[in-house]
């Protein structure tokens, strides 16, 4: 009797182990990681993951992360990588290539010529342009509305507490724009000038926000009169935000990239997913749901006209924005971060 039980145990263990060791070329599911924020993840699920599952039969497990690069790096270095495709910022894309934590893509998007220059790389494909815009409470200033970053710095015409992102990235550029530097002459950044200008606005900054939802909440509750904010978050809750407006002037655009962390078990399937997610119709659908600008130019033409005013990559909005120079920041972000921390503490 004992022997039978023992055999049953052993054989069931073997069976379970056998099921777990699946051949890697036919994955049952991919784990794709998007940024958090409810609406953003849902836009991915509806526009990208479900259609992908319908087209290929591979299930997509949708996970969110907080864009904490340290976490991704630690994961890759430990060797235990449960994520297959991750969405990273352009800064993290550069850094990850330098530090060797991404896999090379095995597949390129089919319509590569439709892509804006510099948006397809060896280690990833850019997804959307997202912008950091100037958002404000419409009822905060009698009659006038702010239009540029110069207005953000103008505390006499536009009194009230402000909020800015808790990172030098973007803020240095905004300071320079407010100081009168033309968009085309921003890079290489005049760091001294930027910090001098930031010193002016510092006493009026009530909150240095670190979470994407904060500017929305701060403006909605009236805790601040003006804030920088990520346009997608504003777009997602636009029906609730009647008192909040934003402008595209001087908005800082950055790219998001799909990458495959090194050590993921499904490089081939992940590359295929990335190529699929970069097609024009998928990006157009995603843009309609979340308001970020697809890098695939053909996608822009497919977007519903009501949504176009919120998209940064349209004919009207694109010229008013600038793209954050990822290579300048790759070279300087470490020292800028240290300097930012020291500056804030003064």
């Amino acid at each position: 009797m004992r022997r039978i039980v023992m055999m049953l145990c052993v054989s069931s263990v073997v069976a379970i182990a056998g099921c777990a060791a699946k051949p890697p070329s036919q994955p049952e599911s991919l784990t794709v990681v998007s940024y958090g924020g409810g609406a953003y993840q849902e836009s991915h699920i509806e526009a990208l993951f479900q259609p992908y599952t319908q087209a290929t039969g591979t299930k997509v497990n949708s996970v969110v992360w907080d864009a904490n690069y340290g976490r991704l790096k630690a994961m890759v270095e430990s060797g235990d990588v449960p994520w297959d495709v991750v969405e990273v910022t352009s800064a993290q894309y550069q850094r990850g290539i330098d530090e060797g934590i991404y896999e090379r893509l095995l597949e390129r998007p089919a319509d590569a010529s439709d892509f804006r220059p510099g948006t397809i790389g060896e280690y990833g494909v850019a997804n959307v342009y997202w912008g950091t815009v100037l958002a404000f409470r419409k009822d905060a200033f009698r009659g006038v509305t702010p239009e540029t970053w110069r207005d953000f710095w103008d505390v006499t015409r536009f009194p009230g507490p402000r909020a800015l992102y808790d990172d030098p990235r973007g803020n240095l550029e905004f300071a320079l724009l407010a100081d009168g530097v033309p968009k085309t002459e921003l890079y290489p950044l005049d760091v001294e000038r930027a910090f001098r200008k930031l010193e002016e606005i510092k006493p009026h900054v009530r909150v240095w926000w670190s979470d994407g939802t904060q500017p929305v909440q701060l403006l909605k509750t009236g805790a601040v009169a003006m804030s920088s904010a990520w346009n997608g978050r504003l777009f997602a809750v636009r029906s609730e935000l009647e008192d909040v407006g934003y402008v595209w002037d001087g908005a800082a655009l950055e790219l998001d990239w799909w990458v495959i962390p090194k050590g993921s078990g499904h490089v081939e399937a992940s590359s295929r997913f990335i190529a699929f997610a970069s097609s024009a119709d998928r990006l157009a659908r995603q843009a309609e749901l979340i308001g970020y600008g697809p890098v695939n130019r053909r996608a822009v033409r497919l977007i519903d006209s009501h949504v176009l005013v919120h998209i940064p990559t349209t004919q009207t909005n694109w010229p008013r924005t600038f793209v954050v120079d990822a290579s300048w920041w790759r070279d300087h972000e470490d020292e800028m971060k240290a300097r930012w921390i020291a500056w804030k503490a003064q």
């Binding site: 904490n68 900054v205 909150v207 670190s210 509750t221 009236g222 805790a223 503490a345």
Partner: protein
């Protein structure tokens, strides 16, 4: 079971192996040494960190002591009453840190009134409550977070005072105040010291409250480590962490000394 001298060795090794070695390996790997510390975190942040931690420690001890006294006093009559009081004071620990911080945000915003974006506080509440995103608010919430822990430690310290000393004092005619001043306070200093150190060590590494209540303006060392980790600059993060660790080393010795003294008094050997 006989007590052998070598008994603590096995658990000690387990703690070192499970908690210390992996962390040490990580810190050494990234080679961030405190020599470069001042570059990554200016002296002012260090000073602020310890000032905040000290203020929170003192304030929470001061607030918790009367509570602990009441608890101790009640325990001489009825254990249940003490249990209820302890339950009420320690309840926030069960609720969890994030919920406690969010509740404070809601509470502090209440005091602001409708003209929130003018940063103006209205009403009577404004007289008593600090505004959200101010230094005072951070200190208040930081203190609040540690009161339950202070209470539990102080209560325990009071309970350890041998009953025979209390009885003899009362028999000899000591009044309530004399009892407090001459027996309770002196005899509970050592456990109070330990409690203070426990809270200080926690508070020195804190980052949740300064981030949520401070609006990014009053960052403590924990927030800075987090900033560098988020960026991927592990070297800077480890430099700051090691710096904090080393700065606290003298206090570890004080804690060890207090524990030894306490043990001698309790066990007498």
């Amino acid at each position: 079971m006989q007590w052998h001298r070598g008994m603590p060795l096995a658990p000690l090794l387990a703690v070192v192996a499970v908690f210390w070695l992996p962390v040490a390996a990580w810190l050494i790997k990234y080679g961030g040494w405190p020599s470069s510390l001042m570059h990554y975190a200016p002296a002012r942040v260090f000073v602020n960190n310890f000032v905040f931690a000290s203020l929170a420690t003192c304030a929470s001890m001061v607030i918790a002591f009367p509570l602990a006294l009441s608890g101790w006093h009640l325990s001489r009559r009825s254990r249940t009453a003490t249990a209820v009081l302890t339950g009420l004071v320690a309840w926030p620990l069960v609720v969890g840190l994030l919920a406690r911080n969010y509740s404070w945000i809601a509470l502090l915003q209440l005091a602001e009134g409708p003209a929130g974006y003018a940063g103006v506080q209205t009403g009577l509440i404004a007289l008593v409550m600090p505004g959200l995103y101010t230094k005072t608010a951070v200190l208040v919430v930081l203190t609040y977070v540690f009161v339950p822990i202070a209470y539990i430690c102080l209560l325990q310290g009071l309970m350890w005072i041998p009953a025979v000393q209390i009885e003899s004092a009362t028999l000899l005619g000591a009044g309530k105040w004399q009892l407090l001043r001459r027996i309770l306070l002196p005899l509970s200093t050592r456990s109070a010291g330990l409690a203070a150190l426990l809270i200080f060590f926690s508070a020195a590494g804190y980052f949740v409250t300064p981030a949520m209540i401070g609006g990014g303006k009053y960052d403590m060392l924990g927030n800075i480590v987090l900033s560098y980790v988020g960026l991927g600059d592990f070297r800077a993060a480890s430099a700051v962490s090691v710096g904090l660790l080393i700065a606290l080393v003298p206090l570890y010795f004080v804690a060890a000394w207090l524990i030894v003294l306490l043990r001698r008094r309790l066990i007498g050997g």
